[in-house]
């Protein structure tokens, strides 16, 4: 997948786990938590969805890369390049 495709995957996941949020003005450079009501259980949902959909295993030590859209896409790009 290309970075734009990965971004869309994350948007789709966020729409499911935060259905009350308006994601149309999401700033990719700013952390999710500053823009949305997301807690640790929600981040685990992102990890779980990626595991289910793409069999990507994200170790706990790498969760810090999932802070913003830009950092998430950057982290996932090598992992999902063949997906």
């Amino acid at each position: 997948m290309t970075p734009p495709e990965i971004r869309q995957v994350i948007i789709d996941i966020l729409e499911r786990i935060a259905p009350d949020e308006d994601l149309s003005n999401l700033d990719d450079a700013v952390s999710f938590r500053e823009q949305m009501e997301l807690d640790s259980m929600d981040f685990l949902d992102i990890v779980m969805e990626l595991r289910k959909q793409y069999r990507v295993q994200i170790p706990e030590s790498d969760y810090e890369h999932l802070g913003s859209m830009n950092s998430t896409v950057e982290y996932l790009t090598p992992l999902l390049k063949d997906a």
Binding site: I17, P19, D20, M41, L44, D45, M48, R51, K52, Q57
Partner: protein, 424 residues
């Protein structure tokens, strides 16, 4: 029973919120009970090959709950949040100024957690049983206090909350527990009742089917047939009924409307069998509730029966009622399950609430689908198929029994309108 209006042991019902398969408010539900309208419909459930019927609720989950809250929580939590919010609004409580640490939530449940566990097993089965895809939401969804806890999260209640696991006696048990906590002065408002999400587990249908106790009828509305010779088992339903309970002096002080006073209650155990009921213990439970209320059997106007349309259950309850109440013709015995099926943890609470408006209209709602009464259910006072007009309705007695031999009875008295009673 005391006549003292300042007696802090007197507990009254001041608000009602409910969702039933045939109504999402007390007025809609009552109207459909009087009109003979069933809420039983064909229902799809995972794995079970035979056709299944169920009582399905259609309340708006998002009236009081954000979509994210709903996604995180359970159907039982959603039912509870809807009913609790409706009850608080109905009670006219000035919620912003209510001390939330003095509010308790006590909800009866038959079971909890089966739905989420079945869902997770189904999910991991798609991944070759890899438990790494087992949801981190499983534990908070399946802890036994979940439905009551979701109510506290939604309404920012900081007082105590818990569920009361009491099989199908749970609806009454929720009311009883709330009343006891008010009498102990643990809380000032008890949000109490019963809820059920059971139709969302295939296991309950499959288990009743294996037991030979799952109802079926080509016409879904005719499937739930307590006391009828052609009954063939239980229709499983979901639902909830939750009331605000307050001590009488507190209710009077704030000018609350009062639906009725809980004047008697009892719980006991058969200590005999996992599933089969025992008439003599049920009769003891009814008598204990009457004794605590300072009443005799002749004082009761309506008995809301528990009968689920299983062979032995209906017969045993009939024996118990006959033993206590005899053949007095002025008594009305009815059955709400004939309309809505068996709402499990919500059953006792919904069935009591369906009868409460009788204080106003003096009508005992019917037991529908009673075409030919089983002669082994020797009750002459069953209100068959059409509502019965009553000379008076002062006392309603509500039976609710469950597996492992758990019995519960609640007696509600009409409250005088000149003192704040809702009903004339």
């Amino acid at each position: 029973m005391s006549g003292d209006l300042q007696d802090r042991n007197r507990v009254v019902i001041t608000g009602v919120g409910l969702t039933a398969p045939n109504g999402d408010s007390l007025s809609e539900y009552r109207a459909n009970l009087l009109a003979g309208k069933s809420g039983v419909v064909p229902f799809e459930t995972r794995y079970v090959k035979q056709p299944v019927l169920a009582g399905v609720c259609n309340f708006d989950e998002f009236r009081y709950q954000k979509r994210k809250e709903r996604r995180r929580g359970t159907r039982a939590g959603s039912v509870s949040i809807y009913c609790a919010n409706e009850a608080i609004q109905d009670a006219g409580l000035d919620w912003g100024n209510v001390s939330k640490d003095r509010v308790g939530v006590y909800l009866g449940i038959t079971e909890h957690g089966n739905v989420e566990t079945e869902n997770e097993i189904f999910e991991i089965a798609q991944f070759d049983y890899d438990t790494k895809v087992w949801s981190h939401h499983h534990n908070p969804r399946t802890v036994a206090n979940n439905p009551a806890g979701e109510v506290t999260l939604n309404l920012k209640i900081t007082g105590p909350h818990l569920t009361v696991g009491a099989a199908c006696a749970a609806g009454n048990a929720g009311f009883i527990y709330g009343l006891q906590m008010l009498r102990l002065d643990e809380v000032d408002v008890a949000i109490a009742g019963g809820v059920s999400e059971s139709i969302h587990t295939f296991g309950i249908f499959a288990s009743f089917a294996s037991q030979g106790a799952l109802a079926w009828n080509e016409d879904a509305s005719k499937a739930s047939r307590p006391f009828d010779v052609n009954r063939n088992g239980i229709v499983v339903s979901e639902g909830g009924a939750i009331c605000t309970l307050e001590r009488l002096p507190d209710a009077l002080a704030r000018g609350a409307k009062i639906y009725g006073e809980i004047v008697g209650y009892a719980m006991n155990s058969d200590a005999a069998d996992f599933v089969l009921p025992v008439a003599s213990r049920q009769a003891e439970c009814v008598r204990l509730a009457l004794k605590r209320a300072g009443l005799t059997p002749d004082d009761i106007d309506i008995v809301s029966s528990h009968a689920t349309a299983t062979e032995q259950g209906d017969i045993e309850e009939s024996r118990a009622l006959k033993e206590v109440f005899g053949d007095r013709p002025s008594l009305a015995i009815n059955n709400t399950k004939s309309f809505i099926g068996h709402a499990m943890g919500a059953a006792g609470a919904l069935e009591l609430m369906g009868n409460i408006p009788s204080f106003e209209d003096r009508v005992a709602h019917a037991t529908i689908n009673l075409d030919e009464q089983d002669p082994r259910c020797e009750l002459r006072q069953i209100v068959a198929n059409r509502p019965r007009h009553m000379e008076k309705v002062e006392y309603i007695l509500n039976n609710s029994f469950g597996m492992l031999g758990i019995n519960s009875v609640v007696i509600v008295k009409k409250f005088p309108q000149e003192l704040g009673g809702v009903y004339a």
